[in-house]
Amino acid sequence: MIRLAVRQFRDSAWTALAGLISLVAVVLATRPHLTEAAAAARRDCGSDARCPALVSFVLDNTGSRTVAGLLVIVVPALIGAFWGAPLIAREFEAGTHRLVWAQSISRGRWLAVRLAVVGTATVAATTLLSMLVTWWAAPLDDSAAAVYGTFDARDLVPIGYALFALALGVVAGLVTRRTLPAMAITLAGLLTVRIMVTEWVRPLVVAPRVMDRPLDPDTTGYGSGGNILLGIGESRLDPEPPDIPDAWIQSTDIVDAAGTPLTDQVLKASCPTIGQESGGGPARPVTEAVRQEMHDCVVRIGERYHEVVTFQSGDRYWTFQWWELAVFVALAAVLVACAGYRVRRFSGG
């Protein structure tokens, strides 16, 4: 049975191997330049972690760093669509389930062996891919000091995404019995679950650290944020997030000593002219008078209010990595159990 499962997977395995070998070649060819450039920037900077040479080293390589990250993010989706979805759907399409399910081996065992073969390949391929990219990007990541910015394209989590995508593809193929719809469901499902976990589950893993600090009149601005899809928020007083290396800033709020947030009424009462200058049109430098008015306004507000920052520090990076891996592996396990149940109880029709 293992021979059949391996034989059926052979072409996919060669494709994956070819892709990985070319990636190894690219990584080995380009990484020495990165380490050299990083070392040069560090020599210029000494102990200053925010000096211009380091910043421009990171900025100069933004393109290739983004491509490398995208590769790690896209490969799990491809594994789900091209290894997971056809695994059972193609058997239905070709009618070969009537050949393979009419032999001595039980359907449950058949599925278990096929999943074991493809699952092992998935873990091997994504582990190797993630290790390669993590190692290649290490000089850049160290200089950028923003571990959470590349969180889902490094280290452990890609393995979890890939296993989940694979299991989702298998179940989708088993339900739809056709490869193309199963591929579409896999991609849409992976995207949805990734967004949901990133937005809602990841922040729940550990309670954030909290930091109080006075409002800085020089870096606090006024405006609104958001995007067209989810809506643009109300304009508000907006302190600049603190510059903590490797931290994931979750929120910055302005509250008084009792913890009550700054309301629009209080703000308008203290600074009657705020927000009136912006009449739309193209962005332009503000006049010195407006700047001074803003500065005075923040100073007045700062007498009663201060800034509260919630953040996750860089030393929790691995906690988040392990948790997210566990979440996706658990989801994959549930899907595999569903597939096993459905295959054993398959009654045709």
Partner: protein
Amino acid sequence: MILETEALAKRYRRRWALLDGTVSIPDGAIVGLVGPNGAGKSTFLQLIVGLLAPTGGTVRVLGGTPDAAMRSGRVGFVAQDAPTYAGLTVADHLQLGAGLNPHRWDAAAARERTERLGLAPGQRAGRLSGGQRAQLALTIALSKRPDLLVLDEPVAGLDPLARRAFLDETVAAATDAGSAVVLSTHLVADLARTCTHVVVIAAGRVRLAEAITDPAGLERVVLDELGRAA
């Protein structure tokens, strides 16, 4: 009895594909299952080999459930259109048969049969003719040395000369191995030469199930029965 079904029924969503299927087949019988397209023949055969679960009624194959009979490797099945893996070679298919039936596989017989039929081991199944593919699928089923061989429309894709040769060869092989055979077809002419029993299915119901005593008059009997059903 090698196969007994009682009040066997199968419903696909709203439509009943089979109703009240009751037959009993003695050891060593060569049974022809005949009926028009869409009569429920495939459904009946897939119920026997456990690829479908019945909505009602019971099936006993080799004295047990279809599932147990399939697990024992004593039942060989070739589905309609003889599905094979287009990308795998003839040799791959024989390995597949060996791997999927570890306790019941006659590798020597499988090799001998493919050689005799001119199936090159390195040939991909997708490049075989319809008849060759049917032979390959049948080889996998026969190499389990089955007590019961179930064939769903094994000759549907073959020209008249090839169907006769295929049926004669199949029955000879099954008789040598001591297997009972249940095969379906929509042509009565296929049955008269080869079968010992006939089962007529029309519109999801078993109309007739009996031993063939008069091969020459079989066509008339079957057509009368189908005419009554219509």
